[in-house]
């Protein structure tokens, strides 16, 4: 599903060049659930951004579902993101003036799905994460766990091939963390590839494979 060949990425900050990724080779199969671990500054978020097409890379090749993803313009990147990738973030990143249902339906708006169908499907996915009764609540009225479940429903609504979760449990207590991880595992069982960035060992241990990152390289 995902194939990275010798990926290099560096950022410019002033006169200095900061090398973040220095030659990443990685293959993740369809239906796999992997954890990316590493200390802060190891480049794990950058790697996730490249996989999620939120960011480009300087060198190497990235294949998503056998398509070469390289030098996309913003419009193409947006289209691919909407079609193939579902994001789950540490800080949930819900739009705070939209209610749970509207938040879940938002990606469909950018796929030009009609309003009625959008709301229907959003309700269905809210049901899947057990939040149907909370559909009309604003994010501010939901608990952290509930917010993350809304975010997961939103990530799923486009039928993505890959779910990218960046520290999905970082802002949650251990009990709700487990709920969210269980949810991700369940999604994975339906055949969707799941990539979780985390620094919690017990979370990583529940995945099929752990990828250790250090100084911009994979060390295991």
């Amino acid at each position: 599903m995902i194939k990275l060949e010798n990926i290099h990425k560096s950022y410019r900050s002033g006169a200095q060049q900061l090398k973040v990724l220095t030659g990443i080779d990685l293959e993740i199969n369809k239906g796999e659930m992997v954890a990316i671990m590493g200390s802060s500054g190891s480049g794990k978020s950058t790697l996730l951004n490249i996989i999620g097409m939120l960011d480009g890379y300087d060198e190497g090749n990235y294949y998503l579902d056998d398509m070469l993803i390289k030098d996309l313009n913003e419009k193409q990147a947006a289209r691919f993101r909407g079609k193939y990738i579902g994001f789950v973030f540490q800080s949930f990143n819900l739009v705070n003036f939209k209610n749970a249902l509207e938040n879940v339906a938002l990606p469909l708006y950018y796929q030009n799905v009609a309003r009625k169908e959008r709301n229907q499907r959003a309700m269905e996915y809210l049901g899947k994460v057990g939040l149907e009764p909370w559909a009309t609540h604003l994010p501010g009225e939901l608990s952290g766990g509930q917010k993350q479940r809304v975010a997961v429903a939103r990530a799923l609504i486009n039928n993505p091939k890959v779910i990218l979760a960046d520290e999905p449990t970082g802002a949650l207590d251990s009990h709700t963390s487990q709920e969210v991880i269980d949810l991700l595992k369940e999604i994975n069982k339906q055949g969707i590839t799941v990539i979780v960035v985390t620094h919690e060992n017990d979370i990583a241990a529940q995945t099929d494979r752990i990828i250790q990152l250090k100084d911009g390289q994979i060390i295991n």
């Binding site: 951004n49 999620g52 939120l54 960011d55 913003e74 419009k75 947006a78 289209r79 993101r81 909407g82 079609k83 994001f87 973030f89 800080s91 990143n93 819900l94 739009v95 705070n96 003036f97 938002l106 990606p107 708006y109 950018y110 796929q111 309003r115 939103r154 486009n158």
Partner: protein, 408 residues
């Protein structure tokens, strides 16, 4: 549908800011509309002032010399005579209609039976009716035969009928002017301003005999048809030249004769008005510009505040174009809505003002903004809204989702 919802939410969140900026747009359009209406009013007023006289006409009156000339002392009175008119009509090319006029400013007593009043009496020639726009209400105007036969006939302002005839029909009746009997042959209505004195027209030749004027005339008036301003100015120069030769005054003497070139006056005033209108338009546009900068500013702030949200949207598959539209439409909605309100208020103010000045004899008539200008203003607003939204919306479209999401 969805987009309007988004815009509405954004506007609702920043009510005060939106209203304040919208006000500056509304104010700008309001000022533009009112100022342009005032400009049109002044223009209409000027046109109305000229409606009495033919615009393409020249009036020559005699005066007293102020310069020594050919050994003659200054202060000499210049007196026009019948021969002067004949000379001008034969020597100056391009004259359309010409008439001489005898005037008596103090007025003569006019009476019918026991009713009497005093009116301004003018001796004129038939062509005078083209020089001074006059409508014959009943009967006829002074004609050639009246002139050649020195008939004792008179054409009266219709206002005189009520003054001294009461219910009788004045046509054919004999009136007495300064003790001399004249037969009424026509009634006219003058489009001129209300304060113009009530007039009785007599044939010039009859006037000169009846009031012992011999061949004296007080002014020469002619029209120039469709001649250009330059051509009429040349004609005026010719007149001055020929008159100065006959009456022995310096052509440079500003007081010997007084020439009024109506066309020149009209052009001068219209030019001044056009300049003024342009100036007014510029002020209006500047005011709107200030408003637009305001809109642009709040949109930039709005975009800044929504950076995080825009980042999320992009992560969820929003294209730069869709983000750009989101911001652009908000700017359009704000400018169009408030601009429309300003336009509406401006029109209401103009309508009210035009009701108040109606009927008065002012230099200010029918202040209005025509439909075309109003539509133009609206189109301008929409374009302006788009321009105001351009910078902020481009900024929004180029937000990098990675950076935006990290912001939290």
């Amino acid at each position: 549908m969805e987009r309007w919802g988004e815009i509405w939410t954004s506007i609702k969140k920043n009510k005060l800011r939106t209203v304040l900026t919208g006000f500056s747009i509304a104010w700008g359009i309001f000022m533009l509309v009112v100022l342009m209406g005032v400009g049109t009013g002044l223009r209409n007023g000027t046109k109305a002032q000229f409606r009495d006289e033919a615009i393409h006409s020249v009036v020559i009156r005699s005066g007293n010399t102020s310069l020594e000339y050919q050994g003659l002392r200054p202060g000499r009175k210049i007196q026009f005579r019948n021969s002067d008119l004949e000379m001008i009509t034969s020597d100056v090319k391009g004259i359309e209609h010409a008439t001489a006029r005898c005037d008596n400013w103090s007025g003569f007593p006019v009476s019918y039976k026991s009713q009497a009043s005093s009116y301004r009496i003018l001796g004129i020639q038939p062509e005078h009716r083209f020089v001074q726009k006059t409508d014959i209400v009943s009967g006829r105007y002074i004609n050639e035969k009246d002139e050649t036969e020195k008939r004792k006939v008179a054409v009266l302002d219709e206002k005189i009928k009520a003054d001294i005839f009461g219910d009788e029909d004045p046509l054919g009746k004999w009136i007495s002017i300064s003790g001399i009997p004249f037969q009424v042959v026509g009634l006219f209505r003058d489009e001129g301003s209300e304060n113009q004195s009530t007039i009785v027209y007599l044939p010039l030749a009859t006037y000169q005999v009846a009031f012992n004027q011999q061949d004296r005339i007080s002014r020469i008036i002619f029209t120039t048809g469709d001649k250009s301003l330059k051509e009429t100015q040349e004609m005026v120069q010719q007149c001055i030249q020929r008159l100065s030769e006959i009456h022995h005054f310096s052509p440079e003497d500003p007081r010997a004769i007084h020439v009024t070139n109506m066309f020149e006056e009209y052009e001068r005033i219209t030019k001044t008005l056009s300049g003024m209108q342009l100036f007014i338009l510029l002020i209006g546009l500047m005011t709107i510009m200030a408003g637009l900068v305001g809109v642009s500013n709040i949109m930039i702030i709005t975009v800044k505040e929504r950076t995080h949200e825009i980042g999320i949207r992009k992560a969820l598959g929003a294209t730069p174009m869709s983000i750009m539209k989101l911001v652009l439409f908000e700017s359009l909605v704000i400018t169009s809505f408030f601009g429309y309100i300003g336009l509406l208020f401006g029109v209401v103010v103009l309508e009210t003002a035009s009701k108040f000045v109606q009927g008065t004899n002012a230099v200010f008539v029918n202040p209005e903004i025509d439909f075309k200008t109003a539509v133009g203003a609206l189109v301008f607003l929409v374009i302006a809204g788009a321009v105001a939204g351009l910078v902020p919306s481009r900024r929004a479209a180029h937000i990098k989702p990675v950076d935006a999401i990290r912001m939290n």
